[in-house]
Symmetry: none
Subunit: 382 residues, 2 copies
DNA sequence: CCCCAGGTTGAATCTGCAG
DNA sequence: TCTGCAGATTCAACCTGGG
């Protein structure tokens, strides 16, 4: 029997003395292994998978309920699988699964882990201790994160992925050209702007979300495209509802998942069987429109483009407003944003502060502050 | 002398038994402490600084300065064992300075650390182990990063900051309104787009850059504005060329720096003496309503801003409530505060009556009673 | 058919003070 | 330390229903 293209690919990538595979038992390709991932991985041979993508429990340590300003309660992650007694317990769990994953990973393979500040620092440290070699940390900047309802912190608007090779000397796969093409012929950066998973992509069961933390396929799409080749084997120890499997199938990669929860498994199997191998529509999801960067007035102040203390006028010099350190304006005893103060002064419902307020330039005369914004954008554009 | 509103706020935040400060020796404000930061911090009293900003060495090979716990020097590494040894040494170093910083930090203070994937995971894990409570991880997304010349990885286009309070129960400072204003009336997110330090801001010495990792002032500007108040004391254990000091001076904060390198110290001292403090009038930042005087609804009734007998509605006119002479509401036979009745009607655990209940103004239509409160506050403000 | 208004929702370590 | 309660607090995307 002729080799499939994917088998050719694996052979081509093989190190000279990679006999293990010939002796090793066949891999359970494109199946979900039931049960605990550490146990499940023990059944896989050494150095048998090309890439690992892992979305482990984050150990969120949430307190009581969180309500939105309008009174409704946030549907938070309260699953047992996310609870650990101590950091030490979490570290031991992390060390155990990362150890097993590294054994199963080929020497030239790489691993991705996603997490938030609750767990990612622990994961990263353990991973370095075990000999993985960090290649990049990637920031997933959420286009539409949940706001901070209480106004107590910065909006938690991103998650972090660590991309690491098996070891320092690994000849890992990185499809540089594909990434550059995907990014309008600019090098792909370590920060990716992608929407969170919602809409028809969000899997439901009995009208409720099937999994509390389903990842967007666009994220996995980029991960798989960057660090695997067609025909490679991808292992996901925390398979959940199978985003990794669905994207792997679409992109012509083989996958192995581990999952304990029978409900998640059911949903994932259905989903993956519905996933069509790559067509044009799949590519479309990746074409993010490059919108103009939004620049806040405060950025101009904090970067020195407009000095605090500067006095702004409207075009007819009816009002004079002083720029504050935080980018707000003070005018006739009132304080607020450039838009708000502009509206208040004119007694109008709204106002575009960018064109309303002017700086009196000794050379060019009255210039709308929008000119400063344009200067800033030109100077900082990549 | 009357307290300004921001001073009131600082005092209001103080813990009851803040006697330590009175007894403690005077802090070496606005000076650079020469020598190793751990030694230098030992000379500072407990709980004496409001905020710590630290930009520790990133590289795990600290040259002759990185020693194993038992005192031997770690040299260049290329095998796993030495790597582990190096990580362990870096962890010890991190643990030492973070421990000392935590002692010096006030219980309601907070700490910022900036790093890259080389060190930030270790710093984050140690910091959690020591009892710091992470509030956010902040991604500084560089507008103009250095490209990845060899095309072997993603362009490393960001650095990570961790913002943590002294402990879980700390009443840390977060100037929510100022941050929201700085971001054009949207909540400030955990990802900040800022240019790297260059141009005239980049300090030179003999034509070469004075410090390899000088941070942009805009970054510190935002950090200080977010997490300190005017007059607070900021400690920077890795002072370098003094970005923290320069921005602190501009923003009316006191600072203390630690630095070993005499050349950096010279550059920093010159730089800070050149930094102009912002005019008092430009420093007034947006205050949270939290710090505004509290006005009871009963006050509005007793002062005639809302007449007893006035009928209030919710926005959709589902309920009608009558204002009583004592400032309570009566609605569907129930009586209570504006908040309580609002909550009862909606069958919600709580409700902000100020925004829930409206007065039907013949000219302006439905107006939340909060506008009456604002009118009262403006009219009665000193 | 489109458009707009209104409702819902997402990995969240989410209050502070008086008594 | 605990309880009770005043009152401060949200952004972008998607869905649904009515005009």
């Amino acid at each position: 029997m002729a080799l499939t293209r994917s088998e050719e690919r694996i052979n081509a990538k093989k190190r000279p003395a990679a006999k293990a595979k010939a002796k090793a038992p066949a891999l359970p390709l494109n199946t979900i292994l039931r049960g605990d991932c550490i146990e499940a991985m023990r059944g896989l041979p050494d150095a048998s998978v090309d890439m690992v993508f892992a979305d482990p429990p984050y150990n969120l340590q949430l307190g009581g309920d969180l309500t939105r300003p309008e009174g409704s309660v946030v549907d938070a992650v309260d699953n047992d699988w996310d609870k650990f007694d101590t950091f030490r317990a979490y570290d031991e769990f992390t060390r155990a699964w990362l150890t097993e994953a590294r054994r199963v990973l080929k020497p030239d393979g790489s691993l991705w882990v996603i997490g938030s500040y609750h767990n990612i620092f622990r994961v990263g440290a353990v991973l370095q201790d075990l000999g993985y070699w960090i290649l990049n940390d990637i920031v997933w900047r959420k286009a539409n994160p949940m706001p901070n309802f209480r106004g107590t912190r910065f909006t938690n608007a991103h998650e972090t992925m660590i991309w690491a090779s098996h070891g320092e000397k690994s000849k890992y796969t990185f499809n540089y050209r594909a990434m550059k093409t995907l990014n309008d012929e600019l090098q792909m950066r370590s920060d990716w702007v992608l929407p969170i998973c919602g809409g028809s992509e969000r899997l439901k069961r009995n009208g409720k979300k099937a999994h509390p933390t389903q990842k967007p396929e666009a994220l996995l799409y980029r991960v798989l495209l960057a660090s695997t080749n067609k025909g490679d084997v991808v292992l996901d120890p925390f398979f959940g509802t199978g985003t990794t499997g669905a994207v792997a199938r679409r992109l012509g990669r083989d996958w192995i998942g581990c999952e304990r929860d029978e409900t998640y498994i059911e949903v994932a199997e259905q989903r993956i069987s519905d996933a069509l191998p790559l067509d044009e529509s799949a590519l479309k999801t990746m074409q993010s429109p490059r919108s103009a960067p939004r620049v806040a007035f405060g950025t101009l102040v904090s970067t020195g483009y407009v000095a605090p203390g500067t006095v702004l006028h409207d075009r007819k010099r009816r009002w004079a407003a002083t720029v504050q350190a935080d980018g707000s304006l003070v005018c006739e005893g009132k304080q607020g944003s450039i838009h708000k103060i502009g509206a208040t002064m004119q007694d109008a419902p709204s106002c575009n502060g960018w064109t309303f307020w002017h700086i009196d330039d000794p050379e060019k005369g009255m210039q709308p502050i929008d000119t400063q914004r344009q200067t800033y954008i030109l100077a900082t554009e990549p």
